[in-house]
Symmetry: C2
Subunit: 407 residues, 2 copies
């Protein structure tokens, strides 16, 4: 944990993926992130996969390094405690609806400089989740094998909840932008980020929306080929599948050399009257002919030989791994400084834990921290933030308004 | 454009997607983002789709609202000008390699408080792109139809460059975190963000890595079903495909009511000895039986009727659109305040332009701005930042070190 944000405390009232990710990224850069949940656990407290003892491996990874306060959020008193924590702290991340007890208006009463970041579904208030905004975005009908009939091909959902994670990272950015503005002006901000806008807006930012409008129709299905450039998955003689990308001049010449297809490529250039070194366009336009040449070459190599040749030429390539292989890959995990030793996870299960994606060569990195038990910090936070005595807290616990550690 | 970051100037030396996205998000929140390119355009200047006049629709969307300076970055003098711009400005975003003229060490000479954010391939310096880190992550071998044989099923690449966009948003966050740290302490930061770490780290943060290690094998292929909860794509009598998700109690009861399958679900509960209202687990475990019930009901509805019923019940669902449909959908685009009127794009093509994903109800939103022409701001920036006279700049232009607007 780098200490870039160690002057910052954040109240997080979150569930699922996007909103907890904001707090996770902030906690990994040193912020104090206080997650406040309903005392029985939020909607995501039992998200798959559960260990045999019932601990969610999803929850314990998305909430690493945070503190946990557990309140009865169905009671007026519990809700008041939460709103008071928000006011006292000054910055809040949530995915609760604006029309709830945790509205910006409620939290900013007597605290006009409050900054709230609220993850929404659609901009108009309709509910949405990663899976549903993805359906609307157009991407699922562009994925899958090239040979599928476009009229009958099914959508292909992505297993990665990409919109959630883009929204989470963007939410962390928007939070710091609003705090920077407050530091400069004293002004608070109510920031809303609709998951649906992240999806349709990313489609537009990538240029794809302009492309669709410009061509007046859908793009052809490309299978695993890269749009507008040279790249695809290939397969070696011994059945290893890998992805290669050749966009820069160096990537292209290196790839031709690694596959040993100089003469085939030259013959194709002669036949087609093009020069593939000219850039993405001739390589993309004639990709099917080139794919045949490269796949034929791949058929004559085992993976060990071809990967050595590609590495030697500095090619940009990667073998497809199953996720279980990836999780056990020393290059990706155990020998990667992104991961640190297992902290004492609530599940009791030990495995490498992530640090921040950002690495700062000159700064002390620290070790990854575990997720909290639910309510583990209820007493500490209520005492420090709201000045409650241990007697006050005891009464709140007895009344069922506050819950303590669920270890 | 909200003015949250209007006290901030950033030098961006970028290509492709992740790195330009950092500058895009900052520009959309009011920062002055000065993109500096080689005078012939960077590696991404001709990224597909190109208009008939040769303008990249990808480039003009990823570089909206930025300024452009064009220099001969193959010459020592051009490189010195860029390093000097970086030093004078104090914050830099780039995806050039650390071992280049734009190293952190070079830029921070005489400017120890410089903040640089550098997007890398893999943490160990090997090149990588979205397509290749995706292959390593495990996700492509989890996507695609459930009925595919896991031993022979091909990988399915995602068309969305999700790792690039997560990295871009995270990079914008990390930049502001380092600037906040500098504001508090005066210290600069060298921040490196490997695209590969974002991929493997996101897989871990989602809980999937722990899951793979805990179960000691890969997860079964789920097709379009949601992992660990109830949701999948269905199809109406008139052939409309849509995605539904039912994770919360309200989503589940609403969905059962909308499909009118109360009695079928009750009969299934009786047969299986479970209560589906208990949560995700019984619904996920018995999903195939439930999918049959729901698909059979969908077969008896046209889309207009079923979608009306789902809306009435507040279900979380969305129709699959092709991307061309999405780009022309009034609800997603023209009636969505995320989009503003077309500015004067370099391509001359007019289409709705995105604002920031963040919307701030109480603040002035402003209109989207166009991407610059290459070199459009060379004179302005060199004069303002480096104090060069028009004579100096004229000589640099004559020498080919500086290029002006490529309109």
């Amino acid at each position: 944990m780098y200490k870039l944000l160690n002057d910052l405390s954040i109240i997080e009232v979150s569930s699922f993926v996007a909103s907890p990710t904001i707090g996770l990224y902030c906690a990994q850069l040193g912020a104090e992130v206080i997650r406040v949940d309903h005392k029985a656990g939020g909607l995501d407290y039992d998200r798959y996969l559960l260990t045999r003892e019932g601990r969610s491996l999803s929850w314990e990874n998305l909430n690493r390094g945070k503190k946990s306060v557990a309140l009865d959020l169905q009671s007026g008193e519990g809700r008041e405690l939460l709103v008071e924590l928000a006011r006292k702290t000054g910055q809040v991340v949530t995915n609760l609806p604006e029309k709830s007890f945790l509205s910006h208006a409620a939290m900013s009463e007597d605290r006009p400089d409050l900054v709230s970041v609220r993850i929404m579904g659609w901009h108009d208030g309709r509910q949405a989740m990663d899976f549903t905004v993805n359906a609307a975005s157009g991407y699922p009908l562009m994925c899958g094998p090239e040979e599928w009939n476009p009229l009958t091909a099914p959508p292909v959902n992505q297993v990665l909840p990409a919109w959630d994670f883009i929204t989470g990272a963007y939410g962390a950015f928007a939070l710091l932008a609003a705090l920077r503005h407050r530091d400069a002006t004293g002004e608070g901000s109510e920031v809303r980020i609709p998951l649906g806008d992240v999806a349709i807006g990313t489609m537009a930012n990538s240029g794809a929306m302009a492309e669709m409008l410009y061509r007046g129709s859908d793009r052809e299905r490309l299978g695993n080929a890269i749009w507008g450039a040279f790249g695809r998955d290939f397969r070696t003689r011994n059945g290893v599948r890998f992805m290669v990308a050749a966009l820069t001049p160096k990537q292209w010449t290196g790839l031709v050399a690694a596959f040993g297809v100089e003469s085939e490529v030259a013959a194709l250039e002669e036949e087609l009257g093009v020069r593939f070194a000219d850039g993405d366009t001739p390589r993309f336009v004639n990709r099917h002919r080139l794919f045949d040449v490269f796949q034929q070459a791949a058929d004559s190599f085992d993976w060990s030989a071809l990967s050595a040749r590609m590495s030697w030429q500095g090619c940009t390539y990667e073998r497809y791994r199953t996720m279980h292989e990836a999780a056990n890959d020393p290059q990706l995990v155990t020998n990667n400084p992104l991961f640190g030793p297992s902290p004492a996870n609530p599940s009791g299960f030990e495995y490498p834990a992530t640090r921040s994606f950002a690495n700062l060569p000159e700064k002390e990195v620290g070790e990854p921290r575990p997720a909290p038990y639910l309510g583990q910090h209820s007493e500490e936070v209520l005492a420090e933030r709201l000045g409650l005595s241990s007697g006050d807290i005891g009464r709140l616990v007895d009344a069922g308004t506050v819950a303590l550690c669920d270890k």
